[in-house]
């Protein structure tokens, strides 16, 4: 009996220790990302200072290229930061999708996935990403992405709304 108790206690200890070791706050994937990000932020600053990377456009300058509000839909401004603007598309109070324009000067590797793009939307290279996003790269500089936020909003819907963004106008901004 004592032996049994001892074993159980040992197992318990091992279990508790393993829990502590795998403590979710010390996830090595994210700690590593945290370290790398600090180097990346410094490198980006330097690259922008030296002119190797362009300075991102103001997010507010993208607003005019988003689709105009259509009957039955609501377009709600969501975020506007340097090199980034995002709107939420709603219908009947329900979130359907997010529509975002981002300047890849903020995150240059975002452009890489378009090198192997096999389709075009509005004449620009387009890719599907993950299970909820479709994106185009405009003028090699601006990524326009539609992200589904409801299962009823399909890939075809995403492509339809990408076409409603003034992609040509955005390309001319470069």
């Amino acid at each position: 009996m004592n032996k049994y108790l001892f074993r159980t206690a040992l197992l318990l200890c091992a279990f508790v220790l393993s829990l502590t070791a795998c403590s979710k706050k010390e996830d090595p994937r994210w700690s590593e990302a945290d370290k790398k990000s600090k180097e990346a932020i410094e490198a980006k600053k330097e690259a922008q200072k030296s002119g190797a990377l362009p300075t991102p456009e103001e997010g507010g300058s993208f607003n005019k290229f988003f689709p105009k509000t259509e009957s039955g839909f609501e377009m709600i401004a969501s975020q506007e930061k340097t090199g980034f603007a995002e709107y939420k598309l709603k219908k009947g109070g329900k979130d359907l999708a997010m529509i975002a324009i981002s300047d890849v000067a903020n995150n240059p590797q975002a452009a890489d996935k378009f090198k192997t793009a096999t389709k075009k939307i509005g004449g620009f290279p387009a890719v599907d990403q993950g299970s909820t996003a479709t994106a185009v790269l405009v003028g090699g500089r601006f990524q326009v992405k539609v992200l589904s936020r409801d299962v009823s909003f399909t890939k075809a819907n995403r492509e339809e709304w990408l076409n409603k963004v003034n992609l040509a106008g955005l390309a001319a901004m470069k």
Partner: protein, 295 residues
């Protein structure tokens, strides 16, 4: 620098006084707030992506955005933490959150000193100012023009609407009663700069409040209150929120008494930190929404 965003989210407890008190407000904003306490889960819930490679890419971008001080997200978290941590804290919040089970009101009663109404009004108005500034740090000023901006603010949901519900109930309705907005308006419109500079919460966040000198900052705080009072009055009346209703719901989760509402308010103030708790969740959500759009 403060902790990275994944750590701030992963350290949020799954239970405790804050969580229980927020659950008690679910009846006011049904289903809006989920207690997300894992960075990975938050990525999946916000974006709908569960593929490990996608989750990793989104998480890395979110971490980078947070770590760049120029992006403003760190300042927003600092504001939520600082505007919340000052005041009549007993240093009990951390303990109460660790207890995890029922938190006894009576065991704290003798340590609670209810705030004077005027101090309550000032603390409330500073949380409102912090909310407005944090909003702009997180989201920028989205949209072309005032109408679009008001639409963006009107779209408060999830953790953000829960934070405003808690501000309404825990910092307004319970300590000051059903006519809390009228009472606060009297105090806040009559404030002089000296009232602010003597307030510990104001001193802590003043470097972030626009307006130049304390007089100008007082103007910002007063305008902030005026801008939220109409919304809040409508929120309370349209949802028929009463102090009795809130206390009755709290009783399902926390042992409180309904005959000493100012003590209940003091108890919540001392044992909960809803403002920075939901603030961290809001910042996490907005970072992830941006990250998935930028990768």
């Amino acid at each position: 620098m403060s902790k990275p965003i994944f750590e701030l989210i992963n350290e949020l407890p799954q239970s405790g006084a804050t969580v229980m008190s927020l659950r008690a407000l679910d009846y006011i904003v049904p289903g809006e707030w989920q207690n997300i306490t894992s960075f990975d889960s938050m990525i999946t819930l916000v974006t709908g992506e569960s593929d490990p490679g996608m989750v990793q890419q989104i998480g890395e971008r979110a971490i980078t955005l947070y770590n760049d001080p120029a992006e403003g997200y760190q300042r927003a978290v600092w504001l939520y933490q600082t505007a919340n941590s000052i005041g009549g804290k007993l240093g009990a919040a951390a303990l109460a959150n660790k207890i995890g089970e029922s938190v006894s009101f009576l065991s704290f009663l003798e340590k609670i000193t209810p705030k004077a109404d005027k101090a309550q009004a000032i603390d409330f108005s500073i949380k409102v100012a912090a909310e407005i500034i944090a909003y702009a740090k997180i989201n920028g000023i989205p949209g072309d023009g005032v109408a679009e901006f008001m639409g963006a603010v009107g779209d408060y949901g999830k953790e953000s609407i829960m934070r405003l519900a808690a501000l309404t109930c825990f910092d307004g309705l319970i300590p000051l009663g059903p006519d809390f907005l009228r009472k606060m308006e009297e105090f806040i419109s009559g404030l002089v700069p000296d009232d602010l500079s003597k307030n510990p919460a104001f001193s802590a966040v003043s470097s972030m409040i626009p307006g130049g000198d304390v007089g100008g900052q007082l103007g910002f705080v007063q305008q902030g209150f005026n801008s939220i009072k109409g919304w809040m009055g409508n929120f309370v009346s349209s949802k028929n929120i009463t102090p009795e209703g809130v206390v009755s719901s709290l009783k399902n989760f926390i042992e409180v008494s309904d005959d000493k509402l100012d003590y209940v308010a003091g108890f919540l103030d001392a044992t909960t930190n809803y403002f920075d708790y939901t603030g961290v969740q809001t910042v996490g959500r907005r970072l992830i929404e941006r990250a998935v759009a930028e990768i």
